[in-house]
Assembly symmetry: C2
Homo-oligomer: 321 residues x 2
């Protein structure tokens, strides 16, 4: 939620002149994207998003992220298309930072998604998995099992400040996941962060997807578990089985889950819980005292983990395959 | 530079349905406007700005501000036009706050204006004065002499923390202004805050003006002095006589200054300096220690005041009437 970089107007003008999108009409910093600086740019050629990549996104990963968006947009996924400059490149430099221009995506994200929104999100993720299956580049998921252990090492000394016994509980869960994590499920390109913030709804159209900066190569059904956790729990952290059923069924209708994916789903959901529990915990513990910005509450994902630990099979989530 | 209010999507949908602008396509919080929450809104009917008025803008003044924008937009001033809702009203309520929708204005504000930008800003202010002259509503300037004294009373006990002797220097200046402030110059509607942030340039068109929330009824030439102070000093606070000449000449060409306005200009420029010196000083002293957001430096306007104290007549500013 920030604009980090202040772009001098002359630099911006020069940058835009490198594209075939006409002259700039306006440019407003938008309060969106925690990783980058984003601007809503209007030119004679239309409306665009200008993104400046700040430190948190590694420069060497940008060709993967932008390549994925290009691939998806060209295969009927509604997502921002990186615009090529006059040299045919999608990545440029502005204010000493990597920068890119994207087509603007209409749509409204839903903070409180309904059952229907959950179903549409499930179907959208399945379509994305089908299309991104053909994307040829790979990127290891640095937030998978070994990454979780690194995060746990960082958080452990102070984890119990957040909740008594949390450090020990995380260790126990990581041991369980290490022994039970499936290795032979379908692996492909996953979004890995498809929270309601990142899905833009327009009535009567497929929802749009944004923010591909966690995308990587990993288990497709794990991505579905991330989606379920992000969409199907109420503000009081209670699981909403009606939403879960709608989301899983809609996904399955577009990309049918295999039996082994269905069997592994409760374990995947535990992994999807601990992944966000850990990143949120590390962020939470690294905030200086008195800071104005509160990070996401890690305990929301602790509650999800505790729930999934009690789930014996996917039918307990409200959906019968 | 903030979005203060988070608008639930259902409330927003209902609010927009009250207007004849089609369905909402997207809505992004923009990092602009220190007084209000602003959103860039796209609907089937076009692009708009949605403004929610936060505490700092008094509700009872809104009909004046919106009325002025309507008057100006209807008389060929490039400024946001408040859109009427289905009940014919320009002011509604959203999230418990007064809210309005405006036509979107293209254009780029110039942090480092050139001589040409200064001239165009001068001409734009003169056109605004001519058009707003016919606007029938009035609003007293609460940041004129008596307002400055109130601010000085607030700031005095700690003014010397900012600069040794500043409290005494302010008192001396206020005495001078009280004795020398002109009373019989042309008085009309002034913008009172036409900083480079608030002027949007598009090549080949009149620049647009935004942010009318300090507008009031006061001396027109005082508004010109505010403009000169905001546009014609360099980052090191040195006066740029080339910019000053261009700005004053361009204003004069559209609304010729009277002899008494020209004679009073050095005093008006001192008043325009102390007005921003005092509001910035009060803001500066009210920031809690360790806060992340630094307010504008009051000493920038102290330097302007010291400069104008040495100016015997308008010709010392580089312009011969």
């Amino acid at each position: 939620m920030a604009v980090y970089t202040d772009v001098p107007e002359d630099d911006l003008e020069r940058f835009i002149a490198g594209y075939d999108i006409g002259r700039q009409l306006s440019c407003k910093g938008i309060a969106e994207g925690v990783e980058n600086s984003n601007f809503l740019l209007r030119t004679e050629g239309g409306t665009f998003i200008l993104t400046l990549y700040e430190k948190r996104v590694k420069r060497e990963n940008l060709p993967y992220f932008l390549g994925l968006m290009e691939h998806c947009a060209e295969h009927a996924i509604t997502c921002p298309l990186p615009v090529k400059n006059r040299e045919g490149k999608v990545l440029g430099e502005l204010c000493g930072r990597p920068a890119a221009i994207f087509t603007f995506l209409d749509g409204i994200s839903r903070k409180r998604p309904t059952v229907d929104h959950c179903a549409r999100a499930g179907a959208a993720l399945a379509r994305f998995h089908n299309v991104a299956w053909e994307f040829e580049m790979c990127r290891d998921n640095d937030l998978s099992l070994s990454g979780w252990k690194r995060l746990a090492d960082t958080a452990r000394p102070r984890a119990d400040e957040v909740r008594e016994g949390l450090g020990q509980a995380i260790d126990t869960e990581l041991d369980f996941l290490e022994q039970n994590w499936p290795s032979d499920l379908p692996k492909g390109t996953i979004h890995a962060d498809l929270f309601p913030d990142n899905v833009l709804f327009v009535e009567g159209r497929d929802p749009g997807m944004i923010d591909f900066y966690f995308a990587c190569t990993d288990l497709l059904a794990y991505d579905l578990a991330i989606l379920l956790n992000a969409w199907c729990f109420e503000p009081d952290h209670a699981y909403n089985a009606t939403k879960g059923r709608a989301l899983l069924a809609a996904y399955h209708a577009v990309r049918p889950l295999r039996d082994d994916e269905i069997a592994a789903f409760p374990v995947l959901a535990r992994g999807a819980s601990i992944r966000f529990l850990l990143t949120r915990l590390v962020d939470w513990l690294s905030v200086p005292p008195g800071a104005l910005v509160k990070p996401h509450d890690p305990l929301a994902y602790w509650r999800r983990l505790r729930f999934h630990q009690t789930v014996p099979s996917i039918s307990a989530l409200g959906w019968e395959p």
